[in-house]
Amino acid sequence: MLRFKKIIEGLDVAFFLAIKNLLFKKKMLIMIVVIIGLGFLSTVFSTSVIMGLKFQVEDKAIDMMTGNILIEPKSDEDYIQNVNEIEKKALAIPGVVGISPHINRGVILTDKYGTKAPTQLKVIDPEKEATASSLRENIISGSYLSKNTKGEILIGADITKKYRMQEAFPAVDIDAGEKIMVTFDNGVTKQLKVRGIYGQNFVATDFYVFITKEEAKQVFNATDEEMNIATEIMIKTKERGMEKAVIYKLKQFGITGRIWTWQEKLGVLSQFTDSMLIVSQLTGLIGIIIAFATIYIMIYINVLHKRTQIGIMKAMGINKETILTSYVIQSFFYGVLGGTFGFILTKFIIGYFTVNPIIMPIGEVVPIVESSNYIISFSILLASSLVAGFFPAQGAIKENILDAIFRG
C-alpha cells in the first residue's frame, strides 16, 4: 500500500524523467521504435498474406468447384431429379444469386498426335453457369459457350500443353479454334471444335471440359426431360456466410439430397489452408519473440548505462518506485510508439499490395488483415515492451547506491 502511495506521489517526476530520457537519445528511441514496428509488421504481414492466400484458394474453389452450396444426389442415387423445380425454388431464396446444375461424365481427349488425356466432362447451361461460377471470366483463349452451342467444347488450361501452369495431368496439344477427338463414357467418339480454353490458375479446377446441354442431348441421345437431372448443383450466394441460412430454406422447401456448404465440401483443402494459417501465426509468434528479445536487450543495455544515474537519483532521495515507474513509462512509450509505427507501416504495405496484388502461382493474392490481428499484435508488443522495461530496471534499482554510482 505504502509502495503504491509512493508510486502515485512520484508519478509526476517519473513521467518527467521518462520523457527527458526518451527525448535525450533520439537515435536510441528511433531504433527501438523501428524494431518494435518491424516486429509488428512481421507479426501481421505474414499472417495477412496467408489469410489472403487462404481466401484466394477458397474463392477459386467456391467459384469453380463447389459454389457456396453444393447439392449432390442422395448416397444411393446417381442423379438429382427434377432439377428445373429445384432451380426455381432455390432462386426464390433471398441471398441466392445464381444456380447451375452439372451433369458430370468421363471423357478422353485425343489430339492430332494421338496423345490422350482422360478427364471429367461437365454438361452445363452456359447462361446458368455464368451466374454461379466464374467460368466465363476465366476464358484465356477463344470464347465462352453460348446456350445453343453445338459441336464445340471448352477445355481447362491444365490439360492443354500450351496453357497448363503445371504438369499435373496428361495434356493434349490443342488451342482454341482447333479440333479434338472426344470419346465419351457411353462409347461415343466425336470430333469437337475447341471453342475456348479456360484457366483460373488453380490446379483443382483447371482440368475439366465443358459442353452445352444441347450438345449433350446429341451425344447421349437424350430428350429435354431426360436431361432434367444433375450430378451436382452449384448455388452461388450473394456473399460468404449466408450458406447455413440458405441451406435451412432449401430443406424447408423439401429439397433433398446431400447439401454441403463449401467448407464441408472442401474438407482437406480447407484444413490445409487452416493449417497454413496456424503456421503463419507461429511465424508471427517467432517475430514477436525476436522483437521482445531485441527490446529486452536494448532496454537492458540502456538501463545498464544508467546505473550511475539511478544511483545518483537514489542518493538524492528519489525513491525506487519512482525510478522504476519512470523506466516502465519509457517502455510503455516504446511500445505505443513502436506499435503505432508498426501499424502505420503495415497499413501502408497492406494498402500497397491491395492495389498491386502479390503474383503467386495460384494467382493474385491480396493480403487480408482482420482488425483483431492489429489489436492482438499491438497488445502483445506493448506488453512485451513493458516486461522488457520492467525487469532490467527492477534489477538495476535494487543495486546498492554506492555500487551503482561508483561501479556503474
Partner: protein, 251 residues
C-alpha cells in the same frame, strides 16, 4: 586569558544544537574470507551551522564515514543520529525520504543527470518533494544565480565546464534547504581556480545561511575553510580539531 577564551568557546560550542551524533560507527567489508575494517568504531558530534572537514590519508576511511552519514550505505555497527532521528532504524523508503528532505550530497565527479538541463537538475529534488511548479522554478533559478550560473539554465551538463557542473551539483544539493550538506572531495576533479570558487561558495552558504556542511578533503590548504577538522586514520578517529579556536589562538 587563553584559558578564559577556551572556556568561552567551549561554552558557545555546547550551546549549539547537535545535528549529527555518531556513536561507535564501524564499517566492515567482506570479500570472500577477507574482512576489511574501513571504520573501526568512531564517535563524534557535528553541530548545526558548522563547516566540518573530514580529513585523512587515502584509504583512511573518511569517504566511508561520509557515505554512512549520508545514508548511502549501511554501517556494520554503531549509531548515527541525525536531527534527532536514529537513521539506522529507518526503513528503506523512510531513508529515501530522509535523504530527500534532510540531506544534500555533492560528489567528487559532479554526478548531474545528463538528460536534464542545469535548471532541471537543480529543481528535481523540489519537484520530487511535490512543490508547486512556480516555487521550484523560482528556487532553482535563484540558487543557480547565487552560484553564478544564471546564464546557463538551459545547458545540459555536457555543455558545461567541470567547475560549472560542480556548481550545478551544489545548487541541486542545496535547493531543498537540507539540514546537512555532505561534500565528498568536491574540488578533486577541478583546477585550482574552479576549486576555489566551489570552496568559497560552500563557505558563503555556511556563513550566510548557516548551512551545516560536512566535507571530505585531503588537501591541507582547504583547512582554512573549515570550522573543525575530524582526522581519521586507519578507520579510527585520530584528532578532532577546532579550527576556529586555533585561528583565535594564533591571533
Amino acid at each position: 586569558m587563553l584559558y578564559l577564551e577556551v572556556r568561552i568557546m567551549n561554552k558557545k560550542t555546547t550551546r549549539k544544537r547537535v545535528l549529527i551524533k555518531v556513536q561507535d560507527l564501524a564499517k566492515h567489508y567482506t570479500m570472500g574470507s577477507v574482512v576489511t575494517k574501513a571504520l573501526k568504531g568512531i564517535s563524534f558530534e557535528i553541530y548545526e551551522g558548522e563547516f566540518v572537514g573530514i580529513m585523512g590519508p587515502s584509504g583512511s576511511g573518511k569517504s566511508t564515514a561520509l557515505h554512512q552519514l549520508g545514508l548511502l550505505d549501511y554501517p556494520t555497527t554503531g549509531e548515527i543520529i541525525i536531527d534527532g532521528v536514529n537513521v539506522n532504524r529507518l526503513s528503506e523508503i523512510d531513508r529515501s525520504y530522509f535523504r530527500l528532505n534532510k540531506i544534500g550530497y555533492v560528489f567528487q565527479q559532479y554526478r548531474n543527470i545528463p538528460e536534464l538541463t542545469a535548471l532541471e537538475n537543480v529543481y528535481l529534488p523540489l519537484r520530487m518533494l511535490g512543490k508547486p511548479r512556480t516555487y521550484y522554478l523560482k528556487e532553482a533559478k535563484s540558487l543557480l544565480e547565487k552560484v553564478g550560473l544564471e546564464g546557463r539554465l538551459s545547458h545540459h551538463p555536457y555543455e558545461l565546464s567541470g567547475g560549472e557542473q560542480q556548481r550545478v551539483a551544489m545548487a541541486r544539493a542545496l535547493v531543498h534547504k537540507p539540514a546537512i550538506l555532505f561534500a565528498d572531495e568536491p574540488t578533486a576533479n577541478l583546477d585550482t581556480d574552479s576549486g576555489k570558487v566551489i570552496l568559497e561558495l560552500l563557505k558563503h552558504f555556511n556563513k550566510h545561511f548557516r548551512q551545516t556542511i560536512v566535507m571530505v578533503s585531503h588537501e591541507p590548504e582547504q583547512i582554512k575553510y573549515f570550522d573543525r577538522v575530524i582526522r581519521i586514520r586507519d578507520g579510527l578517529l585520530e584528532k578532532d580539531t577546532n579550527i576556529k579556536f586555533n585561528k583565535r589562538d594564533k591571533l
